[in-house]
C-alpha cells in the first residue's frame, strides 16, 4: 500500500491528474455539454498521447501499420490550427494547448477505428458513420476552443479546419 501511495505521488509529481483527464474526456464525449474554459488552460499531453496510441493500436489491429502518418498528420494539423487560432483570436494560444485539445477530441475517432476492426467502412454505412464522427470531433474541439479563447460567432469557422484534420484521420481509418 505504501508502494501504491508512492506511485500515486510520483504520478502527481509528473503532473498527471486523472480527474482532470476524466473531466476533459467527458466534455469531449458529450458534445451538448458546454465546455468549462478553465480546465482547458492546462497543457496536458498525457491524455492526447494515450488517445493517439489507442488509435494506432486499433489501426494496427485492423491491419494498417500507419504510426508515422498519425504522428505526422497530428503535428502538421496542430501547427496549422495553432497558426489559424492565433490569427483569429484576440488573445493568443499556445501550441501545447492546441495540441492538448485536438488530442482529446481524437477520442471519437478511436471509436470509429475500433469499429473498423470488425467490419469494413467502405460502404454507405461507413461513410455516414465517419461523417458523423468527424462532425462530433470537430464540434467538440471548436466548442472547447471557443470557450477557452472567448471567440464569438466563430464556432463554425473554427470547426471547419478541425473537420478537415479529422477528415484526414478518417481517411486513414477507412482506406
Amino acid at each position: 500500500m505504501l508502494a501504491a501511495m508512492k506511485n500515486r505521488k510520483s504520478i502527481l509529481e509528473l503532473g498527471i491528474h486523472f480527474d482532470h483527464i476524466r473531466q476533459k474526456t467527458w466534455t469531449v464525449l458529450n458534445p451538448m455539454k458546454p465546455a468549462d474554459g478553465s480546465i482547458i488552460n492546462e497543457t496536458d499531453l498525457t491524455g492526447p498521447i494515450l488517445f493517439c496510441i489507442a488509435l494506432e493500436a486499433t489501426l494496427l489491429l485492423a491491419g494498417k501499420v500507419q504510426f508515422g502518418y498519425v504522428y505526422g498528420m497530428s503535428a502538421i494539423g496542430c501547427l496549422v490550427i495553432h497558426a489559424l487560432l492565433n490569427l483569429m483570436s484576440s488573445s493568443g494560444v499556445s501550441y501545447g494547448c492546441v495540441a492538448s485539445v485536438l488530442g482529446y477530441c481524437l477520442l471519437p475517432m478511436v471509436i470509429l477505428s475500433g469499429c473498423a476492426m470488425f467490419f469494413s467502412l467502405q460502404g454507405t454505412f461507413g461513410t455516414v458513420s465517419s461523417l458523423v464522427i468527424i462532425g462530433w470531433c470537430s464540434l467538440s474541439a471548436s466548442k472547447i476552443f471557443i470557450a477557452a479563447l472567448h471567440m464569438e460567432g466563430q464556432q463554425l469557422l473554427v470547426a471547419y479546419p478541425c473537420a478537415l484534420l479529422y477528415g484526414l484521420f478518417a481517411l486513414l481509418t477507412i482506406f
Binding site: 509528473l14 497543457t43 502518418y69 490569427l87 499556445s94 501545447g96 460567432g153 469557422l157 479546419p161 484526414l168
Partner: protein, 366 residues
Amino acid sequence: MHPAGLAAAAAAGTPRLPSKRRIPVSQPGMADPHQLFDDTSSTQSRGYGAQRAPGGLGYPAASATPQAAFLADPVSNMAMAYGSSLAAQGKELVDKNIDRFIPVTKLKYYFAVDTMYVGRKLGLLFFPYLHQDWEVQYQQDTPVAPRFDVNAPDLYIPAMAFITYVLVAGLALGTQDRFSPDLLGLQASSALAWLTLEVVAILLSLYLVTVNTDLTTIDLVAFLGYKYVGMIGGVLMGLLFGKIGYYLVLGWCCVAIFVFMVSRGSGLVRLRAQVPRRHPRRGCQLWGSDQRHIAELKSPGVAAQPGGSGGLPGRGGILSPGRGDPTQAARGWGSPAHRLQAGLSPSFHSPCMGAFLPEFPWKEIL
C-alpha cells in the same frame, strides 16, 4: 540534455553567452514548462504547482528517489534556472523573428471574420449579380474589419479554400485510383506556384500601368484566392454529376468570378485612384496608353495558360473554359479607367482557374 555540462558551467560561475542548447521538457520534474508555453499551467493547480517553480525544489521528504535527490542539489537548481531562462530567450528570439518575416498584426485584420461574413461572402462569390454596393467602408482612413463589411477582403476563405481544394483534388484522384500522399504535396505546391505567378503578374502590370492604388500584396492574394471556392465547386459537382456537371459549374463559376472581380476591382480603384482625375488631359493620355499596355499584357497571359497546364504531371486534357470570353469582354469596354485595371485580373484569373484542375475522371463515373 547535458546536465553535467551545464552544472559544471554553472559551478564554474562564468557567465556564458546563451548557446543554442535547450533543456528538453520531457524529463519529468526538471525544466519549467512555464517558459516554453504561454502561462498554460495555472498556479491554482494544487499538488504540482509548487513543483514547477524554478529553484525552490528542496524536497526533504522525497529524498529517497534519485530524481528528488538531484533536484535538492543547489547546483542543479541553478542549472534548471539557467535552462529555463535559455528556453525563455529562445522563445523570445522566435517571436521577434517571426514578426520580421510575417507581419502578424497586419494578417490579424484579414482573419477577423465571423460566420455571417463567411456565409455572405460565399454567396457573393457564387452569385455576385444582384449585389449593388461594392465599396469598402472606411473608418478614419483604415478599412473596416471584414466582420462588419462584406466587401472587405479576408484571408480566411482563400486559405481554407486552398486547403480544401488540395484535399478535394486528392479525393478526385483517389476515385481514379491515382492517389498517393505525395501527390497531395505536389498539388499543393503547384497550386501555390500558380498563385504566386498570378500575384507577380498583377503586381508587374500595376507597376507598368502606374495606377496609384492602395492595394497591398495581401489584398491581391486574398482576391486571387477567392477563385479556389469556384474550383472546389466544380470538382465536387464533377464527382457527383459527371462531365456535364463539371463543365456547367465551372463555366458558371468562371463568369461569377469574373463579375465579382470586375465589380470589386472597380469599387476599389474608383475609390483610391484619384490622382489622374486632377489632370484631365494628362489623364486621358495616360489611360489611352494604359489600354494598349493592358491589352498587350492580357494576350501573353492567356497564351501562357495552355503552356502552364501542359507542365503538370499526369494530366493530359486540361480545361480552359474561360479563355476566349474574358479577354474580348475586357477589350470591348475601352475607356472607363477604373475598369481597365480591374479587367486585367479576371483575364489572368479565369484561364488560370482551369490551368491546374485535375483531369476529369469521366471515364470512371459515366
